[in-house]
Symmetry: C2
DNA sequence: CCCACTTTGTGCGTGCTTTCACAAGCACGT
DNA sequence: ACGTGCTTGTGAAAGCACGCACAAAGTGGG
């Protein structure tokens, strides 16, 4: 197996595909731990909970890494997906808001295998600042800029109450952080070029409630439709 | 805010719309707290972070609740969206896995305004069982079935380690729970008719990393493409 | 070497989402 | 009553995403 020229691929991987790559990656790692060397699209799709045609099309956006009649080599595919996702380099993460959720996040080891390193924990509460959580000393929010620069933070996680989230986001942006993961239940306003993803417990519950209600409504009547997921 | 007959609408709201309704709802509640009586699609869309045409089309699926030339009445719209999402009734939630995350979830008050009530906390660890978290005594996982029935649990939240998640999911399903919110990093296997939504921290981080890397690549020039092999 | 079998990669039809752009509708002032 | 100004609700177009079904490509047996 010889390396390849720069690979002319690079066009743009569909967003929907990007969202599934981490799922494939995880399934592959499970297979690898089990000692599996190769896997078919059918088998991998099963493990990832998707249709096999979709999986093949997704992987085809990365290049042609399978062998017809055989399948995909697990180790090689892990490497390719990792590289595509940018996991072959390390990302420094700062978590702001060390309440229940922030602590849970800080202690959540295996941050997606590796690739992510928690570089700092920040909070505004004097009661919390100075304490040690997950082997890191919690620093005061005022040192956000300094920490971002000195630790090379490139991803900011916001786990503060809703009221403080926008302010923290703005400071992250001001400090040069362009990737933000927001757990606070507010819509963040950021300039173009900054990528914000949100994780919102109550939204998920409300979506579940909607489908549950629908199921209950039509129960006993017309045949039912099940809502699938969509992330 | 007078109600109306059941409304003959009932067609089928697009999934993409359902996922945004909770966001609109939250924005509306903020407006209401501020004392705003009516709001235009433009303003509400701004607060919710979406395009105004999209917002209008989304709302049009619920019915025709706006007034041309004026906008939407905040209170009335809150009521309609709440009703559509099934928030006018109460949902009992059981959380399994009272580790860092489970505790964070249990303590996360204002579970999306209201509509959701945490009915039980369950764990397998004898060390945790019996302790009180968020005013609730943690019960042993073995009483899952009993709890689901006696408390009328209709939504199950899984906050266990990956290894235990599938087992818990199966027991939920067996006990009749058809809505599951999964925080464990595994793909759950459930029968048709069961609705599973997943929240996955490391997947979100990986998606952020992908975009961050892409931004970095195109920056300045597009040097640095690694074409290495692995065999 | 050839054939039967397996599995990938993808062209294509279908359906869902988003966005545009504008007619229709309502309030208000004159 | 009527015109003006604003905002909704929605056709229509464009863009994505999904999944089928099959040709292409590789393996292994005879």
């Amino acid at each position: 197996m010889i390396s390849r020229p720069p690979r002319p691929r690079e066009k743009g991987i569909p967003e929907a595909t990007v969202a599934r790559l981490p799922v494939y990656l995880r399934a592959l790692q499970v297979l690898q731990d089990r000692g599996t060397a190769t896997v078919s699209s059918e088998a991998l799709a099963g493990a990832a909970g998707v249709n096999s045609a979709k999986l093949r099309k997704d992987l085809s956006h990365l290049g042609s890494y399978g062998t017809r009649g055989v399948g995909y080599e697990v180790e090689y595919l892990i490497y390719q997906i990792s590289r595509e996702l940018g996991l072959t380099q390390d990302w420094s993460v700062a978590i702001v808001g060390i309440g229940n959720l922030g602590r849970a996040l800080a202690n959540y080891g295996g941050f997606g295998t590796r690739g992510f390193r928690i570089a700092a924990l920040l909070d505004a509460d004097p009661e919390v600042v100075g304490r040690t959580v997950a082997s890191l000393e919690v620093r005061h929010i005022d040192s956000l800029e300094e920490v971002v620069h000195s630790k090379g933070v490139s991803i900011g996680v916001i786990a503060t109450p809703a009221g403080s989230a926008q302010g923290v986001a703005s400071r992250f942006v001001e400090a040069g952080v362009t990737s933000i993961l927001n757990f606070a239940p507010v819509v963040l306003n950021v300039p173009d070029g900054v990528d914000v993803r949100k994780v919102d417990l109550s939204i998920e519950l409300q979506i579940l409630a909607f489908h549950a209600q629908r199921r209950a409504d039509g129960d006993g009547r017309e045949a039912e439709r099940v809502g699938l997921e969509m992330t």
